[in-house]
Symmetry: C2
Subunit: 283 residues, 2 copies
Amino acid sequence: MNVELQKARVAFQGEAGAFSEAAAIQLLGDGITPVPRPTFDAAFRAIIEGAADALLVPVENSLAGSVVRVYDLLLESHLAIVAETILPIEMQLIACPGASLGDIRSVSSHPMALAQCERFFAAHPQWQRIAAEDTAGSVREVLGRGDKTHAAIAGRRAAEHYRGVILAESIQDNAENFTRFVLLLPTKEAAAMTNPVARKMSIAMRLAHRPGSLLAALEPFARHRVNMLKIESRPIHGQPWEYQFFLDLEAETPAPLEAALSEVRKATSQLRVLGLYPAARTA
Amino acid sequence: MNVELQKARVAFQGEAGAFSEAAAIQLLGDGITPVPRPTFDAAFRAIIEGAADALLVPVENSLAGSVVRVYDLLLESHLAIVAETILPIEMQLIACPGASLGDIRSVSSHPMALAQCERFFAAHPQWQRIAAEDTAGSVREVLGRGDKTHAAIAGRRAAEHYRGVILAESIQDNAENFTRFVLLLPTKEAAAMTNPVARKMSIAMRLAHRPGSLLAALEPFARHRVNMLKIESRPIHGQPWEYQFFLDLEAETPAPLEAALSEVRKATSQLRVLGLYPAARTA
């Protein structure tokens, strides 16, 4: 990763201490300046507004699937993917310093985080569950109030940021919970970053909605020995006869990717390269 | 739809008045007996436990994408899709009888519903937002408390069920918000239902993770003039060299579907038909 990015202002959706912030630090180190934003729309705007140099966003989670809104915003933007990182999503029970597990009476977090810890709640049926708008935000509230009977569920980064104590570790039901994040830069800057180990490519393409159109578009990839890591179709609102496809591709070198791509362009009504970047080492 | 299903006990995830309940009534009429369950896992168990005859679950939303957990549970189950229905997701501001818009001080709902109404909240900056675990559940709480300063955001069905009044209609930011639901029955019962207009098919298949394997599996569909409505890949945990694909297919008659399928079976390591059913009329 280049030196400037290690000191970049990095926008993300969520509060300080969010999983996205942890992913940004995992990828770029702790020399970055986090720029938290309440919504994905606001996070994408942070670069245009000059408040951030880069953007880190989740694109898929092993339990919840693709983050459709991020793909929509990426397509509308002038940003490109320059790196990816895969973060294990581990839920921690976080409380005020001095609190112990026996003190806890209520636990708050985002409903999705609460739902991912059903087994832990089943073991503590007397605890009240309280919904919150944000995982890290629920930790901020607990520490702000200083109530030792109240805990929150969020990632380790939130405990560190708000100086909470972790009363129980990795309480999520499913150990196989990973989120893949991508780092986005303005397209011109991304193009100037020549990365010799980049061999993964994300593309978006539009196809006519008729038998055989996808087959024709995929054939050049197979012929050039390009491996498909992900494919996903989405209907295009207001255009019932066209489909949008998102693909992740990988080859041993960039050459076959480029060769296949120039042929695929002829079979599609629209094709955009979302980024060429090094594949993350999987956990 | 057959007569017995119009009187079926239909399980779904969520509280009474949920969007899933509205979808079940849209598909089967209001003679059904709703069987609400707190989680998708519990909703799938309801049939095994003899508490329900059928199950209605969301499979994809136009803004949030596929419901990955439902596909996982469907693959583990002995259930099959027999019908689909597409429900517009319209958010209503619901309060106690006698309340007016000027009385409201706080609004609760699931964070996803709150996030889908950002423009409405921007027009009422003085309102406090309160997260809840369930949209319909937030209406139940508001009506239960009888506090005229508190409102909830949920669907029309929740207002009817808990006898709340709708203070503002269709307050969601995006008008293009649709969820596709499918009706599931035990596989044997599904097979016995011969539906002459069934021409849509959902399948799950596993492929070796190498260049060309997807192309070989898709080729018979194109040759038999089968139209692909949806394709989605998912990695298989613990099996890095195999991929799971979910496809929705459509043909003018079932014959080309069956012909293509018997050829595709030879190109896949595993293939399961999740259901053959009539396509929903889109809104």
